[in-house]
């Protein structure tokens, strides 16, 4: 799967695949030759998940701003 396909994945799908990749690496299910490609895909999936989380945080911050109506800065939301 290409980077472009990762870019279009939902957070849930990317997280699910990342968990599967980590599981394969931890349990030695990958061959030595595949292992590095699997690790690199895992790193891209992780970066994508982090990007998706940041986007969600930014959206929540915007929502909070418009609800209060006061342009007094943003409030990061815990627990995302």
């Amino acid at each position: 799967m290409s980077d472009a396909e990762i870019d279009s994945m939902s957070f849930e799908d990317a997280m699910k695949e990342l968990e599967s990749v980590v599981g394969k690496l931890e349990h030695g299910d990958a061959t030595l030759e595949q292992s590095i490609a699997l690790y690199e895909r895992g790193a891209r999936l992780r970066a994508h998940c982090e990007r998706r989380l940041r986007q969600a945080e930014e959206r929540v911050e915007k929502i909070m701003l418009s609800a209060s109506g006061e342009p007094a800065g943003t409030t990061p939301v815990e627990g995302l």
Partner: protein, 303 residues
Amino acid sequence: MTILYSHPASERHVTPSGHPEQVARHRAVLDALDGLPLTRRDAPLADDADVLRCHPERYLTRLRAAVPAQGQVALDGDTWLSPGSLDAALRAVGAGCAAVDAVLAGEDRSAFVAMRPPGHHAERETPMGFCILGTAAIAAKRALDHHGLDRVAVLDFDVHHGNGTQDLLWAKKRAFFASTHQMPLYPGTGAASEQGAHGQILNLPLPPGSGGAEALAAWTTIAARLRDWAPGLVIVSAGFDAHAADPLASLNWDESDFAAITGLIVDAAGAAPVVSVLEGGYDLAALGRSVRAHITTLGGIAA
């Protein structure tokens, strides 16, 4: 001086086209060592008795039956046998044992086994990760059981964890095994919590993307344990795939890091001789430069 063991049989272990553990690795290593003042010897065939120090007879029988008359057969997704493969693996083991005998007889302070296939992934009855026989562990057991040494050490700086060596030495109280390796990566073992049946195993996993500074910190820790262990012989599983140019991992070591780690090992070994055995390393140019840095430091040869 250092004794260099090699044999053309290494080039008759033929993996499929495009396989990273390829015949050309052997040539790259020998070319890189060309011109150095080394005592060059042919790798002898191992006696079955030495193989049986680590592997049961039925495993050797199974391997002999699996060797194809022509072409190649896969033992797992990574590990292949061609008609010359078992002969090559037996000469790697034979060279490891001959190197132990030679340095313990005082013929030299160090030796290097430039053979393939590598060995540190091979478990008791499981060939894997390009490996068929546990060359380093067999050499360690020969030093303990045949030569009667009180203690040996096996140190593994290949980028992949030496699960096979760990498996074969897990309960061996007089064998200290230490390994640095990238984690996560194949084969998935080598967590710091894996410490052997007698606390005599030290695993120091390194994060992907880390370089020489992290490596030297880890090897300084291992060198301190090695000094305390005070073995009669040090065996090194020398893989060069932690090099930044290697296609199969993502650590960022360079030739000077391999030289520095070798220096730490030689220094901490003190009076004990050192037998180094080639494991991985898949970028041919980086492999050559790194092996040369390792051997010139090991043998105290002016580069």
